[in-house]
């Protein structure tokens, strides 16, 4: 395609948008609403994910051994666990360390009481603390460790992480459903806008075909129209979300200091580095898909 033909087609695409001003505006507004909702859910999920990660970092499996198990066997068990791909870190807590830690928590201020124990009451409580890369894999790992010879008991604490993971799953499902419906509406509206454009330019298209315009040249302005509507429909909510996100984070941090201190918000730069390209690709993709679908349906060249 020649460069002037390209610019001609882009110009025609832009003209189409202004010719069907109201339809174009409705399409851009719907697309903006879709991408805005998508952005809101993306932000929510990103922040919940971050919270899950924070909680997961504190979640560990505790592995206790059979009484009198040899040190070499305990070491072997540790090595076996460490080899597992889902394990991020493994820490050995000796019986002495376990007792010291217990004393620190339960005899704080009454250290004299602990003096009464001549022997380590937690003699058989040497253990491994196993930290996972992804807390959702905890059950599988626990089953594996339980079956290792020499392991007496495995304790897990995953309630909080499980709840958050579950919440994130539901959030992802609900948001996917809502976004899908909105995207269908957006495709439908772009479809209508382009169809109106085709109908308005029916005579021009007929003349173009008789003069000898290629199919591509007849179709390209409508594709440009769809892409521009999609891109505008993505850029507007992105700008809006960027401004609002900063303000909301600041507001929550100031007004709800408890929530602010409990939760770390994802930095806007980090968040938008992921969100912006996804939203733009989504917007342009829907615009492209919507216009191509309409052309296929209404524009017989």
């Amino acid at each position: 395609m020649r460069i002037n033909t390209f610019f001609y087609s882009v110009g025609q695409g832009l003209k189409n948008i202004f010719r069907n001003g109201m339809f174009s505006l409705a399409s851009i507004a719907t697309m903006s609403a879709c991408i805005f909702m998508f952005g809101v859910f993306y932000i929510l999920i990103a922040n919940v994910n971050m919270a899950v990660q924070n909680v997961e970092q504190g979640v560990a499996i505790t592995v206790f051994f059979e009484a009198g198990l040899e040190e070499s066997r305990i070491k072997e068990i540790g090595e076996d666990i460490e080899k597992r791909t889902e394990v991020k870190e493994i820490v050995f807590i000796s019986a002495e360390e376990a007792w010291d830690s217990f004393k620190d928590v339960y005899f704080e201020g009454n250290e004299d009481y602990a003096e009464g124990f001549t022997e380590n009451p937690l003699e058989d409580f040497a253990n491994y603390e196993v930290y996972l890369k992804d807390v959702s894999q905890q059950t599988g790992l626990v089953t594996y460790i339980q079956n290792i010879e020499g392991v007496r008991e495995v304790k897990q604490s995953q309630a909080v992480a499980d709840t958050l993971t579950e919440f994130n799953k539901i959030l992802s499902l609900v948001s996917s459903g809502i976004i899908l419906i909105l995207l269908c509406v957006a495709v439908f509206l772009i479809n209508n806008t382009v169809a109106v454009g085709i109908s308005v330019r029916k005579e021009e298209i007929a003349i173009m075909k008789l003069i000898g315009a290629t199919d591509f040249l007849v179709r390209f302005p409508f594709i440009v129209e769809g892409i521009i509507i999609g891109a505008a429909g993505a850029a507007i909510p992105l700008g809006l979300l960027f401004v609002l996100y900063d303000k909301i984070v600041l507001y929550v941090a100031e007004k709800f200091s408890l929530v602010g201190s409990m939760m770390d918000f994802v930095q806007p730069q980090v968040l938008f580095r992921g969100l912006a390209p996804v939203a733009l690709i989504l917007g342009v993709g829907i615009g492209l898909f919507g216009s191509m679908w309409t052309i296929r349906k209404h524009l017989k060249v």
Partner: protein, 228 residues
């Protein structure tokens, strides 16, 4: 050269719009095609533009069998045929210059060429002074001149005019016919579909008469068996 051999076209099971038409039109000829409404003239134009496929027979234009032209090559084929319609079919939102330039733009001509060719075409049709006017500001005759300029700007070897004087008064009709004759004198093959037998008789060109889809006469001197 345009050659039709045993061309028939049926839209449905009824009477064919064209029935076993055999025609030869040499390069640089001026031909009138006459016939009553529904005689098959418009079908013939559509077949020549490859807007329709014949049910039977073959059409060869400038050595190319239309049946064998692939879909993607149709635009290139059509660039060699200019078309003018009774209702002008100008773009109302564009001025005279833009309407003619449009034909060049859609075939990807560079702006430099467009700037040379369009004023030349405007001078040829006598509308150089009105290049900024919009179609609604022009008379019927002037609008048809713009349509002719648009049809010729890409230098086709064939000009098809479908009832070019149908919406014009007698004076304007004669002006348009004079313009078409000038174009013919420059070597373009001109095919005019018309009802206007006065013009046909005076111009003394070849006349092909079609009735009920059949070529009933083909006269070299402006005679026609058709009566309007």
């Amino acid at each position: 050269m345009i050659k039709l051999e045993h061309v028939s076209k049926s839209y449905s099971a009824g009477i064919p719009a064209l029935n076993d038409v055999n025609l030869e039109i040499e390069d640089g000829e001026f031909v009138f095609i006459v016939g009553s409404s529904g005689s098959g003239k418009s079908t013939l134009i559509k077949l020549l533009l490859k807007e329709l496929e014949p049910t039977e027979g073959s059409i060869v234009i400038n050595g190319k069998n239309l049946r064998k032209i692939r879909r993607r090559h149709i635009p290139k084929f059509r660039r060699n045929i200019g078309v003018v319609f009774q209702d002008f079919r100008l773009l109302k939102d564009r001025n005279v210059y833009e309407n003619i330039a449009f034909a060049q733009k859609v075939i990807g001509q560079p702006t430099k060429n467009i700037k040379k060719k369009v004023p030349a075409m405007l001078s040829m049709v006598g509308l150089a002074a009105k290049y900024r006017s919009y179609p609604k500001e022009l008379s019927g005759g002037e609008q048809q001149r713009v349509a002719i300029a648009r049809a010729l700007v890409n230098e086709p070897s064939i000009l098809l005019a479908d009832e070019p004087t149908g919406n014009l008064d007698s004076n304007n009709a004669w002006d348009i016919m004079k313009l078409l004759e000038e174009i013919h004198e420059h070597g373009t093959t001109v095919i005019v579909v018309t009802h206007n037998l006065d013009i046909v008789k005076v111009m003394k060109k070849r006349v092909i008469t079609i009735q009920k889809g059949v070529v009933v006469s083909d006269s070299k001197q402006g005679d026609s068996s058709y009566e309007d």
